[in-house]
Point group: C3
Chain length 138, copies 3
């Protein structure tokens, strides 16, 4: 049994869902670990993680619109140090995931056929983000 870990830098080109399934899969392949558990951890509170449908771009757009609606800019927030998108970013992060773990089998992520791993970028002007990857197995 052994471990591998890596910090993965990601910069989304725009707010919303940004797929990085391939980067996660490459990390697993390069590790030589074929059976185990991959943990993906987002080191931010204004961006988060989701696993979503990776076939239909319209589903991605609907999801982005939905979160813009239920945690909107312009509500009466006390905290707005970094602008009107500051507090909505924290709320959307709290409603989604900071961490996702995925079993690894036969050297591959045990994702379903239509599942992709996404960074959900909540800031209007996306900074570089760091995702911590951790793999345990053999």
């Amino acid at each position: 049994m052994r471990q591998a870990s890596r910090l993965l830098p990601i910069r989304a080109s725009r707010p919303g869902l940004h797929e990085f399934t391939d980067s996660a899969a490459e990390f697993v392949a390069a590790s030589g670990i074929s059976e185990g558990l991959l943990t993906i951890f987002c080191r931010h509170t204004s961006a988060s993680l989701v696993i979503q449908e990776n076939a239909a771009p319209a589903a991605r757009r609907d999801l982005e619109r939905y979160f813009a609606q239920i945690a909107p800019e312009g509500a009466d927030y006390e905290h707005d140090d970094e602008g009107p998108d500051d507090m909505p970013a924290h709320l959307r992060s709290a409603l989604t995931q900071t961490q996702i773990s995925i079993p690894v089998s036969g050297g591959r992520l045990a994702l379903g056929r239509w599942q992709g791993v996404y960074l959900f970028e909540h800031r209007r002007d996306p900074p570089e983000r760091t995702i911590a990857l951790h793999l345990l197995g053999e």
Copy 2:
């Protein structure tokens, strides 16, 4: 230290919460691993996981009604390839969990007294689902 894994097929009889705590516990018991970490991963984007109260059926019904309300059918979605319950299913999945890990101690899941593990089925006509179980420990 060793690992065990299994694909667990589940078909809910109706949309909503479907408990499978016993299947997860049986997998752990059969593995012979007494101290470790169980990871439960839902391989779908229109069904998800929650840990909820397993004593009061009314709590289950309220939870189902709540998600039907905050991510309703009939909103103005762009994506509806698989019908009016398609996009609400993705939204309800994003708001809950795709993966849950539970410590194992003394051969048992370290759940609280009232906690049950549920598949949250979001499609009206539930297909068979696959849950990936992964256990690491000794």
Copy 3:
């Protein structure tokens, strides 16, 4: 490769976010494990976990207000065995996390600079809670 585990009792002084990053970090430090994976599991369905901004108290207050708004007391719930804050507590738990895993590197949690680990207490009169901590690594 080895494991450590502990049940951590926490009682929040009031409903809302209660940080316990230090207790989690102390458990990791005391274990002597420097590279691995920490899993934090909340053994309750009326309290939950979030990783949030730990710098601005106003962000914490906005987050508490937001969840009080989207899963309010006084809605027409069927389940209210333990009072008007019973069902909202389950809903707010379902919308946030029951479990969070954090990679450990160099003996430290791989949290981002502004991230703190919080118990999100949803009951008005907070009881003592138990958090299961599990660490795997070397």
